[in-house]
Symmetry: C2
Subunit: 156 residues, 2 copies
DNA sequence: TATTGTTATACTCTATAACTATA
DNA sequence: TATAGTTATAGAGTATAACAATA
């Protein structure tokens, strides 16, 4: 035969539906769909928002490596994102006094104000999710997701 | 003040740690880290693999719109990915007889063979996850993720 | 020499709009 | 006119290597 007919039965692999990476992607897409309009309204990409969020959550200034680890961004991507956020005066960059190689990043007043302004909308969306999904189930889900990460990072 | 000191306490928003989109991203990254070497060994991007996986799982040929919906890829991205996979002779493209606008995509013998060859490695990785995480908990997680998608897609 | 971070480069994906072909 | 899909275009992220500055 020339063309090709799909024959799932011939492949010993779980169904697309039960694929864990796909299930995580679907869930993330469904969730982000609720938050995306909020970010678009402020001209923020998801990645930029992750950086701002990490800085807002930190009790202290963060260096580039710490932000990269928390946001799952690679150095080169993060470098450009930080340039962008600095140009928009949302982020402040200083050199660590004890190690001139290391940068210290923090939110500016404007950055803090932006995150603080978005927070109510974000929390309203969360309330909507908790309302529909149940807050106990949401807690359970977060716990399972944390445990999955631990299971993945265990020694081989 | 000039610089900026982060003050999480001033922002009424849940911690970065308890952010659902971040938890889903972390879990997905941790999971994909286990599968990525397998894809890299076959020169497949995650998106290309999602397309092959969708075609392998289908009982019949799929059109571009169906693949886009299942893989969360946009038309233009998918168009290029399909060109790439067609060039590599992994995917076969035909025109639907009843509607010449519609394409019918399926795996070629080589595509089927590729997916079939990767399947054992994929299943071994799954077995590892189930072993560490527990298969009942994995089932529970998949169920919660499905329900979350339903909760997100409900009428506003 | 090792580390922190940026720059260089090539590729891929995202996103929106415009377009072609078909219905 | 509406729909399926591709092409155009601009922007942003991914990934690896090379590099500069500092330790």
């Amino acid at each position: 035969m020339t063309g090709a007919t799909p024959r799932q039965a011939e492949i010993a692999m779980r169904s697309f539906d039960r694929s864990l990476p796909m299930a995580l992607l679907r869930a993330r897409e469904a969730t982000m769909a609720l938050f995306r309009p909020m970010l678009a309204a402020h001209n923020l990409t998801e990645q930029q928002w992750r950086v701002l969020r990490a800085l807002a959550a930190a009790d202290t200034a963060l260096d580039v490596g710490q932000i990269a680890a928390q946001t799952f961004l690679l150095g080169p991507s993060l470098s450009r994102i930080l340039n962008n956020l600095e140009r928009r005066a949302l982020v402040h960059r200083a050199t660590a006094p004890e190690d001139a190689r290391r940068a210290q990043l923090s939110l500016t007043e404007a950055g803090l104000s932006l995150v603080g302004g978005i927070a109510p909308t974000s929390e309203a969306t969360y309330a909507q999710i908790e309302n529909r999904f149940g807050s106990e189930r949401l807690d359970g889900l977060l716990k399972l997701l944390d445990d999955l990460v631990l299971a993945g990072s265990d020694s081989e």
